[in-house]
């Protein structure tokens, strides 16, 4: 039974908005079209004469491309044309690299040039009259390869004899950096116990949005401008990548999205394929339609960052106070650096996790391997690091005999510490972590746990309980990229909205964002309605994104938990400006001061005088269609606002500064039952508590909590991109890569706290990623369940049944991973 409760809500948060529609579970404006099959997703868009593109992909993980012969494909009736890597290398420049040395030398193009570097690397493209024909003709393209040895295990990538992916980099190192804050020597000198963990592994998976990547690309030969109807979720980034590669100004690239069938970060790095489509649209003089197939997505698109943590040492006091830790982090970026090595700094948004330890050192190394390129995936890079901190807590508790709840409460950053500056200068804005943990325990019925444990034992099952406490840092300061590469010029963040009162009094909003189900049309309308004195039903928020709407800026898009701050901050700013203009206009008509005007019930009226009221329609008409004889220039009733959070560029030497504006928090608790004979287990109970500050639409927030929970459970139990030693992906479709279905989901109770952010216009915090709390909680629960059978240590984020069986069978092998030195 699904029980959804919100047992505790804090006192109404302080915002500068009078709450009317904001804070309500207002029904979503998007639903009506989506429920009737009237959404417009990218593959729904068609143009006269368009050609379907199919990519020819490498069957080898690493191979020289000796020759490509497209003649047989071109000879087929209905085939419009082809594109090869050689053409791409002539017509484009390599994509700009974020990395400093040595990753800066990677030469990455829309198609593989000279070498293929992973199974699925596109080496050519074929365009034809139908999908079927394009796919068939792609098989007629003859590619002569010279296979090369592949490097699959990141831990071997820097070996002397390791095959090198990008010779121009001189090896497989992408980026390396040392992060150290506090006084590690003093911390370890003060420690009563030192807990050593030799290796932990965070697995490779991604959130596999149900809609695949795609585009309908048109080229305007007269203006040299491309229109890309697509589902890229970060046009700000894609345009910056694509314009220089295509050797055009950024205004030549118009991105249009409407409905996007899930993104989760995985639709950020489609720029190589989009460039291929642009080149084909220009070359063949016809619109190009690209829709990825599921296997192509699994083989080539946006894997999550796989990460090894090695030589972990934790300094612990006798009373359980955690003083600090040091470790190596080895990140596997796959074959190209498409958004990387940003993962090498983004984790440090949450350096201490939720804990007060002040002495932390991480030696971070990112390498390239012959696997699909990684790029952001829900919880991007912070999830991996937060999993490390949660594993440390539970392993320390397990080895030293602390209660996992008590050690958390002892070490959590406390509510009175807020706002809290972390050792690396990030500022946690607000929150009450101990209280959130108590709420999670209450929701899951923790006081009944021992009784349930005995009941499970009587049925031959091992019961385990685990906590995952995690952060969802939001609204990036892109200045953190300069910690990766001091020569980069990116910093801060922004988002844009426009709001206008149109000719017949319609209120029309445009956003720079690219929503994928987060309900932006609804929440934006709630904010507008409260400011303008109308209903959200009176507000039209245009669906999706269009870079030609003048609501586009360098960081526009929907990613990294920020809409409720940046997007709605822009909406609020623009709407307040429109409201000001409306009051000025009404004051001109009535001959009074703008301060005497109020906006109520879709009228601008003199305060306290309902008779002196102009309907919005009249205001719109005066400016737009009836302005002759008006004595003064009326305001335009059209406002654009760029929301900019106040950030400084971080200190590059100390790697110190505020990297994100808000810190939403989630605490998850779960109960598992393990069959000790087989390792099969089920999550039998689950609770998730979220605190994302003020909630504009609690139902939408809860939906995000649920979705993030489901992703985490999938990653913890079933979902993994598994490669063999030669670099073949063994889970290239939904048969082999099991995503949870309706029967897999445990009973869930949700709870919420509201600790408004003092730093944001609405008291909101970005949320939606969930920080992988479910992965942490399942790992902890499994370790708890196995305690009575040899006390295995859970060292991997992904624990399919066979791995649990192995831990049951040989717990000592896992225990060898941990050593405790007590003084």
């Amino acid at each position: 039974m699904t029980t959804v409760e919100t047992p505790t809500t804090e006192a109404a948060p302080e915002t500068t908005l009078e709450r009317g529609y904001v804070g309500l579970d207002y029904p979503r404006k998007e639903d009506r079209r989506l429920l009737q099959g009237q959404g417009v997703f990218v593959d729904d868009i068609k143009r006269w004469g368009m050609g379907y593109v199919h990519f020819v992909r490498s069957p080898y993980a690493h191979a020289k491309i000796l020759s490509i012969d497209v003649s047989k494909a071109l000879a087929v009736k209905g085939v419009y044309g082809t594109l090869t890597g050689d053409e791409v290398a002539l017509q484009t420049d390599p994509f700009f690299q974020i990395a400093s040395e040595p990753g800066a030398h990677v030469r990455d193009y829309a198609l593989a040039v000279g070498k293929a570097r992973y199974v699925g690397d596109p080496v050519a493209a074929v365009v034809a009259e139908t999908r079927e024909l394009a796919r068939d003709a792609a098989e007629l393209v003859e590619v002569e390869y010279e296979p090369l040895p592949a490097i699959v295990d990141a831990r071997r990538a820097l070996d002397e004899d390791a095959p090198i992916l990008h010779e121009e980099c001189g090896g497989n190192l992408a980026w390396q950096g040392t992060y150290e804050w506090g006084d590690l020597d003093a911390a370890f000198a003060e420690a009563d116990h030192i807990v050593r963990i030799s290796e932990l592994h965070f697995d490779r998976f991604n959130s596999t949005p149900l809609e695949l990547d795609g585009a309908l690309v048109e080229y305007n030969r007269g203006t040299g401008q491309w229109t890309l109807h697509c589902n890229n979720q970060f046009p700000g980034f894609a345009i910056i990548m694509m314009g220089p590669a295509l050797r055009v100004g950024l205004d030549k690239l118009r991105f249009v999205t409407q409905d996007i069938g899930g993104g989760f970060g995985n639709k950020i790095t489609s720029h190589p394929q989009l460039v291929a489509c642009c080149l084909l649209a220009r070359k063949l003089n016809r619109p190009i339609q690209w829709t990825e197939w599921r296997t192509e997505f699994h083989q080539s698109m946006s894997h999550g960052n796989e990460r090894w943590f090695q030589d972990i040492e934790v300094a612990v006091k006798a009373d359980g106070t955690l003083l600090g830790f040091r470790c190596k982090a080895l990140d596997d970026a796959g074959a190209y650096l498409r958004y990387e090595p940003l993962g090498g700094v983004i984790w440090s948004q949450v350096t201490p996790g939720m804990y007060r330890w002040r002495n932390i050192r991480v030696d971070f190394t990112q390498v390239m391997t012959n696997k699909a390129p990684v790029s952001p995936n829900r919880g991007y890079s912070r999830m991996q690091h937060l999993w490390l901190t949660e594993r440390i807590i539970d392993i320390v508790a397990h080895e030293l005999g602390f209660d996992p709840i008590e050690i958390r409460k002892r070490n959590y950053i406390q509510p009175e510490d807020m706002p809290y500056e972390t050792p690396n200068g990030c500022v946690y804005d607000s929150g009450d972590y101990p209280r959130a943990l108590d709420l999670a325990l209450e929701l899951i019925g923790y006081d009944q746990l021992e009784e349930r444990r005995r009941d499970a034992e009587s049925r031959g099952r091992l019961l385990g309980f685990g906590i995952g406490s995690t952060l969802d840092s939001g609204t990036n300061n892109f200045g953190q990229s300069q910690l990766i590469n001091p020569d980069l010029q990116f910093s801060g963040n922004n988002e844009v909205a426009t709001v206008k009162l149109d000719i017949l009094g319609e209120i029309v909003v445009t956003l720079g964002t690219t929503p994928q189900g987060q309900g932006h049309e609804t929440t934006a309308a709630q904010v507008v309605a409260d400011i303008l004195g109308c209903s959200p039903d009176d507000v039209t928020v245009r669906a999706g994104h269009d870079t030609y709407w003048n609501s586009h800026a360098g960081f526009s898009g929907t990613y990294a938990s920020q809409f409720a701050v940046t997007g709605l901050g822009a909406v609020k700013g623009a709407t307040e400006e429109l409201a000001r203009q409306m009051r000025v206009l009404a004051s001109m008509v009535f001959g009074c001061s703008p301060d005497d005007i109020e906006l109520v019930d879709k009228h601008a009226r003199i305060k306290g005088n309902p008779e002196a009221a102009l309907p919005f329609q009249a205001l719109g008409a005066i400016v737009n269609a009836g302005n002759a004889g008006f004595p003064e220039d009326p305001p335009p009733l059209n406002a654009r606002y760029v929301f900019r959070p106040k950030f400084e560029v971080p200190d590059k030497e100390r790697k110190f500064g505020n990297l994100t504006l808000t810190y939403a928090m989630q605490i998850h608790a779960c109960v598992v039952e393990v069959d000790p004979e087989t390792g099969y287990y089920e999550v039998v109970d689950y609770a998730a508590v979220d605190d994302c500050g003020s909630r504009v639409n609690p139902k939408i927030v809860e939906g995000q909590v649920m979705g993030a929970t489901a992703h985490a459970l999938g990653a913890a139990i079933w979902e993994s991109f598994v490669y063999d030693d030669e670099g073949n992906l063994l889970t290239p479709n939904f048969y082999d890569y099991h995503v949870p279905h309706a029967l897999d989901m445990p009973p869930l109770r949700t709870g919420a706290l509201e600790s408004p952010s003092p730093f944001t216009p609405l008291g909101t915090k970005g949320m939606g990623e969930g920080g992988g709390a479910g992965i942490h909680a399942v790992c902890a629960a499994l370790q708890d369940a196995l305690r009575s059978r040899g006390g295995a240590i859970v060292s991997d984020s992904h624990n399919p049944y066979h791995r649990v069986w192995a831990m049951l069978r040989d717990p000592d092998a896992t225990r060898a991973n941990v050593e405790v030195v007590s003084k």
Binding site: E30, Q36, G39, G78, L140, G261, R294, G517, K699
Partner: protein, 162 residues
């Protein structure tokens, strides 16, 4: 391979409209619906018949339209998501989906609605377990299913089916 596949004339009733169409023998039903008839409410999320985004009713039964060739539906009667509420008035099931926040991106939603409406047709008062079983062939990546299950049960309580 052959450059031009053999084709065949089929007659099929879809959402109450009868279509006569020449289709290539190899064309999947889902591509026929989407590309030839512009019934784009039926979606595609996988290559393997796992995801259920393409679920339609074929002679009243829920089937995955990516697992059939268009020529196989010659003479059949089909309902797609566009046919659930042809006059624009949402069905109780569709309303329940909105009320329970059972959709986020909306990509799996048409398939979910088709599977759920077929369930409610044959079993107007399903248990939670029966709802989960009926939806196990439909993948949703946004919601975690909890709200979808609640929506189907709400629709059942309100006595509404398709």
């Amino acid at each position: 391979m052959t450059a031009v596949a053999a084709s065949r004339l089929i007659t099929v009733e879809i959402n109450g409209v009868t279509y006569e169409h020449e289709v290539p023998a190899r064309r999947l039903l889902v591509h026929f619906l989407r590309d030839d008839l512009a019934l784009t409410g039926t979606h595609i999320g996988c290559d393997t018949g796992n995801c259920g985004a393409c679920t339609i009713h074929l002679n009243g039964e829920p089937v995955k339209s990516c697992m059939l060739l268009a020529v196989q539906v010659d003479g059949a009667s089909i309902t797609t998501v566009e046919g659930l509420a042809p006059d624009g008035e949402l069905t109780p099931l569709q309303q329940a989906f909105s009320e329970a926040h059972a959709l986020q991106c909306g990509y799996c939603t048409p398939g979910m609605l088709m599977s759920a409406s077929a369930l409610l047709e044959r079993n107007p008062h399903p248990s939670e377990e029966e709802v989960r079983i009926a939806l196990q062939g439909n993948i949703c990546r946004c919601t975690g299913y909890w709200n979808i299950i609640e929506a189907v049960q709400r629709a059942a309580l309100s006595g509404g089916s398709a």
